[in-house]
Symmetry: C2
Subunit: 476 residues, 2 copies
């Protein structure tokens, strides 16, 4: 699969790479490089002449300068947890994988300024722990936080469950250090809350999936750690009542509302069936559920406020029943229902996935029309629309019909996608809310994106990476 004789990679290139990062950090053995060539679900498989792991920003710069001089294509990679193939090299085998995992220093934690400066290869979990060690919160929270890295989080502008209160990854960044396509280092590691000295370059690189430059370090914002967290799991009649409940929760808790996740009964059924030890939090069957969480800087009265909130929602018909977590263990059990909802779908057969967002008010209509649209393609398809209702982001997944042939079902992926995405686009929605474009949605992007926006994106790519060496074939 890996072809070392390819003329694009003369031996001296590997020698030069070894001189830059050290011989042990240029891996070419198929066994060593295999974990870098495949993402965890096996949807994409690539090839590479070498996995190069620089240990410093200067080494990244030297690698990119060499790549620029010799026309080498570079695929940056962090924790290899991306879901759209953005971190996987092309199967052609002419792209070097640049692993950033050795850039793993926490350069500084500054609680007085509420900032933390970390390198790209620091895992999200380590960044969270470093914040907690100084009694602060780094609020980005994803299912893959144990292995995904800050560099990847920023390259893809990761979302997750805390967006409703704290925004996407880009909103948690004060500054970044970036190595440009020709090896120049853009030092933007400011710790400033306000800085209007020229164009905001950091937001251009954040979310560009490694196609405009390589993020090597970042200054992250820290926020106060809440003194109390209240977690409730409630049954609600419909997505419309869930949206009404969301409005009520915002009015009651404001920015203290830190989580609002929607789940359909069928998704809960899959969790109860496939997740060991899972138990239904609420007696009886209900059509929809919401996991909501609130945080406060004082424990005083939060439980009482949450109870009063739920009682009012109950009497107005927005919820049918509900429980409040009485301990950390109970809280973890409730979140496990939500966090397990993605993985269990693969145990029930084929799953056709969408990661969409729409204006919050449009969510009920989009769920209803999206299900109807998918059923025109596969009549007995089983919808599992779930996720971050608080920011309008629904993981609009569909499990195969009972007894269907998995491969035959998955062969309809494109058709189902088109049907569902048409509904989403008609409501002013996005076909990639938080997972990015990668290779999975590159063609789709040209169909749904404003043509002028696409033209500007192409112009920016040509300006910042004129030779097209950074993560080729991704996004554009």
């Amino acid at each position: 699969m890996t072809d070392f004789s390819r003329p694009a990679f003369p031996a001296d290139v590997l020698d030069r790479l070894r001189r830059i990062v050290g011989a042990t950090h240029v891996e070419t053995d198929p066994i060593d490089i295999a974990p870098h060539l495949e993402e965890r679900r096996g949807l994409w498989h690539g090839a590479t002449p070498a996995v190069v792991s620089p240990g410093t920003t200067a080494e990244v710069a030297a690698v990119l300068a060499l790549a620029d001089a010799r026309g080498l294509k570079i695929v940056p990679q962090g924790g290899n947890t991306g879901l759209v193939g953005g971190q996987t090299p092309s199967p052609v085998g002419d792209e070097i994988v640049l692993s950033l995992t050795r850039l793993d220093r926490i350069r500084e934690v500054d609680p007085a300024s509420d900032t933390m400066t970390v390198e790209a290869g620091v895992t999200l979990a380590r960044a969270q722990e470093a914040a907690a060690a100084v009694d602060r919160l780094f609020p980005l929270s994803l299912a893959s936080e144990g292995s995904c890295t800050i560099g990847g989080n920023l390259a893809t502008n990761a979302g997750g469950t805390a967006v409703i209160a704290h925004g996407n990854a880009r909103d948690l960044v004060l500054g970044i250090e970036v190595v440009l396509a020709d090896g120049r280092v853009l030092n933007g590691l400011g710790k400033l809350r306000k800085d209007n000295t020229g164009y905001d370059l950091k937001h251009l690189f954040i979310g560009s999936e490694g196609t405009l430059g390589i993020i090597t370090a970042a200054v992250l914002k820290l926020v106060p750690r809440p003194a109390a967290i209240g977690t409730a799991f409630v049954a609600t009649p419909s997505p419309a009542t869930a949206v009404a409940l969301l409005g009520r929760a915002k009015a009651a808790f404001g920015q203290g509302l830190t989580g609002f996740e929607l789940m359909p009964r069928f998704g809960l059924d899959l969790v109860l069936k496939h997740l060991p030890g899972a138990r239904d939090p609420i007696a009886g069957r209900h059509d929809w559920y919401v996991l909501l969480e609130v945080a406060a800087m004082t424990a005083d009265g939060l439980d009482e406020r949450l109870e009063a909130f739920l009682e009012a929602a109950l009497s107005d018909g927005e919820i049918e029943d509900g429980v409040i977590a009485g301990s950390l263990d109970q809280r973890a059990a409730l979140w496990r229902m939500r966090e397990g909802m993605s993985d269990v779908q693969s145990l029930e057969g084929g799953s056709i996935k969408h990661d969409v967002s729409v204006p919050i008010a449009a969510v009920p209509e989009v769920i209803e029309q999206g299900i109807a649209a998918a059923r025109t393609v596969v009549p007995d398809i089983r919808p599992v629309p779930f996720g971050h209702l608080g920011d309008g982001n629904i993981h609009f997944n569909f499990t195969q019909p009972v007894g269907a042939d998995k491969a035959a079902y998955l062969a309809r992926w494109g058709e189902v996608n088109r049907a569902v995405h048409a509904v989403v686009v008609a409501h002013g929605g996005s076909v990639s809310a938080e997972h990015g474009i990668g290779v999975l949605k590159r063609e789709l992007l040209t169909e749904v994106k404003d043509p002028t926006a696409l033209a500007v994106m192409r112009a920016l790519k040509a300006t910042l990476d004129p030779k097209g060496l950074l993560n080729p074939g991704k996004v554009l």
Copy 2:
């Protein structure tokens, strides 16, 4: 001053402009155009062959397409409240002023999605009122909110007093509509909280001061209106104790801390001397003061929490005395002390100004060293460092010595700037926290900005405005 015979403006250009926007919306009479040629302090004065006021995005696009075809330079202007000359045409008189004030429609208010879609010429105050009308808050808040416009707020990424809780202007935007230099319209008016379909273009145009494109409309984020606000005015021994108090306030109120403004005694003296009806909120003289504000979604207990917070700070020596506003009138009186602090300086003689930000922990040292540095230039200079301590943004102003000659004092502007900015840059700070670059700080930008960042900015300008027609000579 205005030269209609200039060959760059043949009569047919004015005729074409009249055909696009209507004859009454192309102003050439010196009396009509005078208000557009000077900013309110009279620091910059420009000239123009015409002030053109389109009424729709399509008209803006047609004007820019004509400008592109004919090589016409365009200076966009909103409420003309900018402080760095960014909205003033060059004195040469070859730049058309494009006034966006007729684009003043509130296209939609969507409380269920917590969004509002407004055109560039809507004043900030009108946007705030439209949000309040649906029981929401649009949190951007500036001294000039009665006349500044949303387009200008976004073009300059305005800051203000609510940044500590809600971020800068860019953080309050979900989508924008932009007319590019060649007249193409980039439609990015999405109402989405999450959208990872390609590069984030909005942040490139926001804060670019009209040099990359003309923002014609925006989707703004709305937040819940707080049910209760607590406002305290306290005396604190030093900037260091003020920073400690800030840390305590964040820990106590988290994201409920919505304002934290630092003021020196001399600034208060100027307000008491020059602002009619101003009264010292606190008995006795203290070296420093902080105006802090907290908000909550329930009135229950906020006053008690604020009192307990102040008592603890008092016993730990972070404050010496303090008052809590007991009514809306008292709250307004306290804010008037802070908001009046800028204007009163001009009544005390010459004032040399800086709009800097530094990491919050560095503020005390920067104030001390900045004052010392300024005194090496003008020994009896009277410092008035005040402003948004909560986000590290200090308006580091200096009033002339008692009895000094104003003109002679202001002639030292550059020297004092250099001395103070050197201290700021040494602490990783910004020389323009919220006012932007405009023409005032264009030369300064080349001295303090990372050279690679500057090179990238120039490349982006060349890509998006290859003929250099949009707000020429501003920023770069």
